[in-house]
Structures are given as C-alpha cells and as structure tokens.
C-alpha cells in the first residue's frame, strides 16, 4: 500500500505515489537550480510543468487514477536534465536526470538563491545547537567553514560565542518537514511551485495573451511574496526584542542596581564616558599612525577593516554597561522618562569630564593654552567670513 499525494498542475489534480512525488519534486528543484539567473526561469519551469502534466494525462485513464512512481520516474527520465544555458558549450555540471536528482533528499540539497529561504537551526548533524548547520545551509556553504569562523571569532573578541548564544535563542529550530524545506530554500523551487499552482499562479499565466499582461501578473505575484517575507522579518524582530528585554531584566538583578539607579547611574555614565573617550582616542590614533596603544595594524589589513574591528570591540566592551544602564534606568523611571533622564545624566557627566580635562590641560600644557588663546580670534574670523558670504547672497 502506498500513500498518494495529489498535486495541482495547471488547475488539474494529479494523484502521485509518494516516492514519485518526491522524485518529481527533486527534479523540479534541480531544474530551478540550474536555471538560476535565467530571466525566463518561471516561464521555462511553467512549460516543463505543463509538459509533465500532458504526460501524466496520457498515463491516466478511467480505471487508472494514480500515477505510479515508476511512471513518474520514466517521464522524468524522458524529460532529461534541464540545462541552464543552452548556448553554453558544456553542461557537465548537471547530474544526468532523475536518478541523481532522486538520491538527494530535500534536506541536504545545497541551497542556492532561493527567494524565500529562511534561517533555521538544523539539528541533524549539528555539533551544538545547529546554528552553524543552519547558517551553512542558508548560505549554501560547508558547515565546517562556518564553525571555524565562529570559533575564530570567539577567540578573537568573544563576539563569536556571543553571536552563537544569541542565535540559539533567537533563531527557531526547524522541526517540521516544511520548515526543513524552507531552510533549504525549497519553497522557491518545487514546493513553491506547487504552492503557486494552488494559488492559481499558472492558471492565471496561461490565460494571458500578451507578454505585457503576463509580466503584470508576475509583478503582482512577486509583490505578494515580498509581503510574505516582510512579515517573517517582523516576526524575527519581535523575537529579538523579546530576547533583549529578557537580557535586561537579567542585568536588573545585578548588584549595581541594588543601591538604586540614582546612585549607580552617574558612575556607569562616567565609566561609559571614559570608554567613549578611549574609543575616540583609539580611532584618532589608528587613523593617524595605524596603531593603537603599541599594537600596529598588520600591513595587509586595510584601515577600514581596522576601524570596523575597533568599533566591534568598543561595542562589545560597552555592551554590558549599556545593558545595565538600560535595565536599571528603565526599572526606576519607566520607559517614558528613561530617555531624557539618561540624556541629562550623560550630558552632566560629559560636561564634568571635559571640564576637568580642560582645566588640567590648561594648567599643565603650554601647547593647549596657546591653542585655547587662539580660539577667540579664529572664531571671530570664521563669523566674519560667514557674514560676508551671507551678504553676498
């Protein structure tokens, strides 16, 4: 006894045996992959689909209502592998036909350029939480490379471990076969195909006489798909928000908050101000001398990469600080007053620190004193030239 799966091709239902359905799915998936980048991909796939439907119809009769797996396989073999670019000299990249397409289950198929692929954690063959596995499938690269990248990042700055933890929490795990298929981008190919057929996509397509109407239809369909993707993104964002608020409530229990935010906040602000200044100094020194506190940027690395690294390090260092501040402040003043209060505290601390630095500099550095003395005439000049420019307009 075999399970039967009914598919809809051009508005007609065709019952297939389950393994035949899988073979067909794999074939269409392969076809879609080799047509990657072909502007007529959808149309060629629709033609192929139509032709398969014709062949199914020939097989079925009044006393035969199900297409057997063997028949599906024979039809697929008769169709031949879909060739990406018929003008290209060699098509060695294509596996010959259905046989190769079949022994590749949907889950392990290397994904490439699916329009609605989703990021999932994949536990099959995972080492920890399946994050690297999921990312590898999402980007169509080897999982080992992703793992190495994560470990390296973890050693260099801790970002890798942190990102991994975040993703374990934020990225959902693929549990159902549908989610697995979504992870590999299959919806953009065969399953998407069937979904579109269900939505009347091809039903609509064949009724258009001119290419313009056809294109209009395609455009509308794409729009719908975009909306779909957007709602997924919103969901991800909501997940991240929830996670962030969990993180903050965790830090709110930190001893610094125990004394009340009114006391700890200025200190946290001060610490952050000092870090900000250090960061500013590091950026200036990196740009000016390509070195930070004796650490020289290796010759092969461009400056912008160094700056990004610096920025990441800064973000990483100040992150707990920001989280504490956020958590304590939000708990004490509520979300509404939180922003203005923090701004005020920050501003006061900044003013005090800069004032102290200036005072110290003026007493101990002749250079700085000279610079400050030159400010009024320079400012006067600037205002004068601006006035002149304005008057000329």
């Amino acid at each position: 006894m075999n399970k039967v799966i009914t598919i809809n091709l051009n508005g007609n239902a065709y019952p297939l045996e389950e393994s035949g359905y899988e073979a067909l799915r794999a074939y269409l998936e392969n076809a879609s992959r080799s047509l990657q980048g072909n502007p007529d991909r959808d149309e060629i796939l629709a033609d192929i689909e139509q032709s398969i439907a014709d062949k199914f119809r020939a097989v079925l009769g009044p006393y035969k209502t199900v297409v057997a797996s063997k028949e599906v396989e024979a039809i697929i073999a008769g169709m031949g592998p879909v060739e990406g670019d018929s003008s290209g000299p060699g098509t060695g990249a294509h596996s010959p036909g259905a046989a190769a397409a079949q022994d590749r289950p949907a889950g392990s198929a290397p994904a490439s350029g699916g329009s609605v692929r989703r990021l999932y954690r994949i536990r099959d063959g995972a080492m920890l939480g399946g994050v690297c596995n999921g990312l590898a499938i999402y980007f169509g690269i080897d999982a080992t490379i992703v793992r190495i990248a994560f470990v390296l990042l973890a050693f260099v700055s801790g970002i890798g471990a942190l990102a991994y933890l975040i993703m374990v929490i934020v990225v959902p795990r693929a549990k159902t076969p549908e989610e697995m298929a979504a992870a590999t981008g299959a919806p953009s190919t065969a399953q998407e195909f069937i979904r579109r057929a269900k939505a009347g996509y091809y039903e609509g397509m064949k009724s258009f006489r001119t290419r313009r109407e056809h294109r209009e239809w395609k455009r509308k369909f794409r729009q719908e798909m975009r909306g779909w993707r957007r709602s997924f993104k919103d969901e991800m964002r909501a997940n991240a928000d929830e996670w962030r608020s969990n993180w903050h409530s965790h830090w709110a229990r930190w001893p610094a908050c125990a004394g009340g935010p009114h006391y700890s906040m200025p200190f946290v602000s001060l610490l952050k101000t000092l870090l900000d200044l250090a960061f500013l100094f590091a950026v200036l020194s990196l740009v000016a001398t390509r070195a930070v506190i004796g650490f020289h940027l290796p010759g092969g690395i461009p400056l912008w990469l160094g700056l990004i690294g610096l920025f990441v390090a800064y973000g990483f260092l100040t992150w707990p600080l920001r989280a504490i501040r956020h958590a304590c402040g939000r708990g004490a003043w509520g979300p509404f007053f939180f922003g203005p209060v923090v701004f005020l505290v920050d501003f006061l601390v900044w003013a005090v620190v800069i004032g102290l630095l200036l005072w110290y500099g003026l007493h101990h550095s002749a250079q700085l004193r000279e610079f400050v003395n030159r400010i009024p005439p320079a400012a006067h000049d600037a205002v004068y030239s601006f006035r002149q420019w304005w008057a000329r307009r």
Binding site: A31, N38, D40, D47, S51, G78, G80, E83, D85, S86
Partner: protein, 114 residues
C-alpha cells in the same frame, strides 16, 4: 570515445539551426518539435528544448501565441519573427559553406567530383 559522443557539442550547436528550420516550415508547439527531432540523430529532450526556445524568444528569433487544443489546456505555438528568418537564411548559407568545405577538403586537385 564513440563517434556519437564526439559529435555531442556539434549537435548541440546545430540544434538552434534545426529548430529554426522546423518552426519555419510550420507553426508548431514544443512537442511537435521534439517529435520531428526524435527520428533523427538530433533527438532532444524537454529539459534541453525549453530553455533553448525561451532563449530564442529572448533574442527575438521566435515568438509564440496561445492556441486552444482539442485535448487539454492551451498550448504555445511558435513561429519565426523577421529576425528569425534572417538568422535562418544566414545559418543556412554558412552551413552550406561548411559542408562544402568538409566535402572538398583533402580531395586531390583535379580529381573527379563525386
């Protein structure tokens, strides 16, 4: 390597020419083209033909229109465009030159032509 295998790239290259010839003779749909080719050395499968047809349409060599069929859904019937006819003429000329060359090359000068 069999002769058949050796000629795969050549046959591939000639396919567009042959499809142009078939479409020039009559308004056809994809299965007609496949049928016309199936008896020859150029037997082709859907997986090759459909991408080729869509490429030719993109190059404006052929165009199609939907036509009702007696059994089943409407079909795309292909026909040549002006550009396609021009291409067919050029290719035919070129092919005649090539096959002439293949015939004559290596024959002793002055030898009786067969």
């Amino acid at each position: 390597m069999s002769i058949n295998e050796k000629f795969i790239p050549i046959k591939k290259g000639l396919l567009e020419f042959l499809v142009l010839k078939i479409i020039a003779a009559d308004q056809v749909y994809a299965a007609d083209i496949l049928r016309a080719l199936s008896e020859t050395e150029f037997a082709t499968q859907e997986g090759t033909l459909y991408p080729l047809l869509s490429k030719m349409r993109r190059e404006e060599l052929v165009d199609y229109e939907w036509k009702e069929s007696e059994a089943g859904p409407p079909r795309k019937y292909y026909q040549l465009t002006g550009k396609g006819r021009e291409r067919l003429r050029e290719t035919t000329d070129y092919w005649q030159k090539i096959s002439g060359t293949v015939k004559e090359l290596g024959q002793k000068p002055g030898a009786p032509q067969t």
